[in-house]
Symmetry: C2
Subunit: 424 residues, 2 copies
């Protein structure tokens, strides 16, 4: 006998992407198609913090049009959070609170949309059903621009930032090439990627022959060698007239120190990065005297919904769809993963895999994706990356000539529990 419909919570976690809301769209639209199973989807206001605080957005108060528009809206429409739930042993009160909230709102499904950290949280919440006897099914929906989650061929969010970075590399390449005879000779584009060089690697898709940008890519996986870097810059300028460099924010020296860690340390104890490009720029000027320009893409790259990969948008949507269908089929403690069936024509499908071990691993560029000299990618890497940026999904524009985004009403569900604050 089928159980009576229960409600679902959907929450966004960690750094947002330009397509995370496409996953939200996939979850909500699919849940609306399965009303025999799922009553209402509530969204955590600012992610898991909203769940703990009983701050829940009633997505059924949003029109079909608004939910559909989520598919083309960057950022985290319901608010995201970097808050990390401690283990049930260290913070049992948080789990008791979660169960109170789940009970108060008849929650049977928990969809957590995030990266490695949220996979860990999702696993802990999934375990409640066994250890604490509350029947919740928790499904992890992968999202990260960093492409560093194991267990999935790629991560929704990455394909679009990859397309953005490759496009920016091609565009700025045309700019520098046209000025180099009498002006800027070296251009450095700093991109995200603290520990994994996937985003920097994607810039190579802009290159159709050796003379085209990028000429040099700096990865977190390859220790920075100042002398070889300068040599390579000078060689490119000599050969092609200019040099285009793409640098991961996480480039390290031979001792594993970030080339440019600011003094600020964030909540998770990580150094806040950003500033590799200005440092490399100063370095090139001091060593070669070549005129240099740099750009720091920062949020521009991960918010660039206008430059989304149609493939990525569709994958982000489908992992949401698949999460709901898996939940209805009784899956718990799993992540939706993307399986590649073939490179060309590119074919893929979704499946679910167990969450064990996912959170503790971080997928870096494999050695055979990095060229011999450590400053470019191989054909294997290009074969992997190419399909992920295929297709354009520009979204719609408003009458003022700017991208039109979903405007949520964000009607909050009435609280029935006493106020509660999570540990700092």
């Amino acid at each position: 006998m089928q159980k009576a419909p229960v409600n679902a919570i959907y929450a966004q976690s960690g750094g947002v992407t330009s397509v995370i809301n496409a996953s939200a769209c996939g979850v909500i639209e699919t849940a609306r198609r399965y009303q025999d199973h799922i009553g209402v989807v509530y969204a955590g206001f600012n992610g898991i913090l909203g769940v703990l605080r009983e701050e829940l957005i009633d997505t059924h108060m949003e029109t079909e049009q608004t939910i559909a528009a989520l598919r083309q809206t960057p950022g985290g429409a319901f608010g995201s959070s970097r808050y990390v739930l401690r283990s049930p042993q260290r913070d049992p009160a948080a789990y008791e609170r979660l169960i109170q909230v789940f009970k108060a709102h008849n929650i049977g499904y928990f969809f957590y949309n995030g990266g490695n950290g949220s996979a860990d949280t999702c696993e802990k919440i999934a375990s409640i059903s066994q250890s604490m006897g509350y029947p919740i099914q928790a499904i992890h929906i992968p999202k990260t621009i960093d492409n560093d989650i194991v267990g999935t061929d790629c991560c929704p969010g990455f394909g679009s930032v990859a397309k953005y970075v490759a496009t920016a590399t091609r565009e700025t390449g045309h700019d520098i090439a046209s000025m180099a005879s009498s002006s800027t000779k070296v251009f450095i584009l700093e991109v995200m990627g603290r520990n994994a060089g996937w985003i920097a690697a994607a810039s190579a898709l802009a290159q159709q022959c050796d003379s085209e940008p990028p000429h040099i890519i700096l990865f977190p996986e390859v220790p920075f060698d100042p002398d070889r870097f300068v040599q390579s810059v000078q060689q490119a300028v000599k050969q092609y007239g200019y040099c285009s460099v793409v640098a991961s924010e996480g480039v390290c020296d031979a001792n594993g120190r970030f080339l440019s860690a600011s003094d600020d340390v964030d909540a998770a104890g990580d150094h806040q990065l950003g500033g590799v490009a200005p440092k490399l720029s100063q370095f090139i000027v001091s060593r070669t005297g070549l005129k240099t320009h740099y750009a720091v893409a920062d949020y521009l790259q991960r918010a660039a919904r206008h430059m989304a990969s149609a493939t990525d948008v569709e994958q982000a949507y489908q992992v949401g769809v698949h999460a709901v269908e898996a939940a209805i089929n009784g899956v718990n403690g799993a992540m939706v993963s993307i399986v590649r069936d073939s490179d060309s024509p590119y074919q893929w499908h979704c499946q679910t895999i167990g969450l064990e071990g996912i959170a503790t691993l971080e997928r870096k560029l494999p050695p055979h994706f990095i060229s011999q000299d450590g400053m470019h990618i191989t054909d294997d890497a290009k074969r992997y990356l190419q399909p992920l940026i295929m297709g354009e999904d520009f979204g719609s524009y408003d009458e003022q000539g700017l991208p039109a985004y979903a405007k949520l009403r964000k009607v909050m569900v009435s609280k029935s529990l006493p106020p509660w604050e999570p540990l700092d």
Copy 2:
């Protein structure tokens, strides 16, 4: 009696834009329609330097399709240059050389596509016809992302960078808004604009109400007041949960010193700018402790052809068309300017105006475009800016999912003169 067809030279000057090649397209396509008047259009390889060196690209060796594709190709397809021709008094040899080149290739028209500096050069070349008796007609085609040329309602190149910056402000605003509850509270976007704040001002088009980004705009026209800036940042964070700042690279302190001039000085004696955002970011962190991120858009903004304003592309094309038609009608020593007939519906047309005085003036934001507090724009400014970003012109994409650009053959015209090098 109509004179026999003569040839034309087209040259690009100064920092390139994402639509300068649309002007090239307008010139070449129009010249091809007037073969009774214009034989061949030669393009200076790397601008005026190529003209002086007799390095000329034969545009008639390019197919119609290639010339049409220039309309959607960023950068300067024939190469641009920051080389500034001295006056005929200081460097008479350069003018004698120009006349040699003009004679050698039967040149009757000179189209110079650039900013204030090139208007000056164009005027000098126009004067040759009188002072040195060589019958050349020189027409200036305006181009600059800075929108700082007087005598025209707007400058081709500006509308697209304006659209890019407004879009980036809206997109990154959604990103920060979704993370601010537990992460980054302040985001700073550094944009170009050494002396004029037009580009920074355009970011305000992203804002539909006060709570939306940008919350603070820093202009070169308004001396930076550290205390008021910090107060405003804190006020926005308190009121809206986060603060979005757009800063011109040319922001100055009360003594007129650039907040962030690097030590490098370029050929024109200007300090190379870039680096305001990291400085402001450090400043905010030290004064408020708020978590801050920044992006430096640099070439990303002026190369972003994928985000071009359809209005701007069309204007860039039409100034090229108009230049050729004016030349055929006997105009010399003039600039094509854009005249605004009405704001809404936006209507405009091209005309030519004399070059006298254009080069020496730089159009800054007028005081009535800057809000009372000096950190935003007025409704007058919005009325002016709004039409310039209207319409999307994405260009076409290749089979690899990236923007497709013109690939020129660049067949060089045979030289008939001895080698010659311009003064440094």
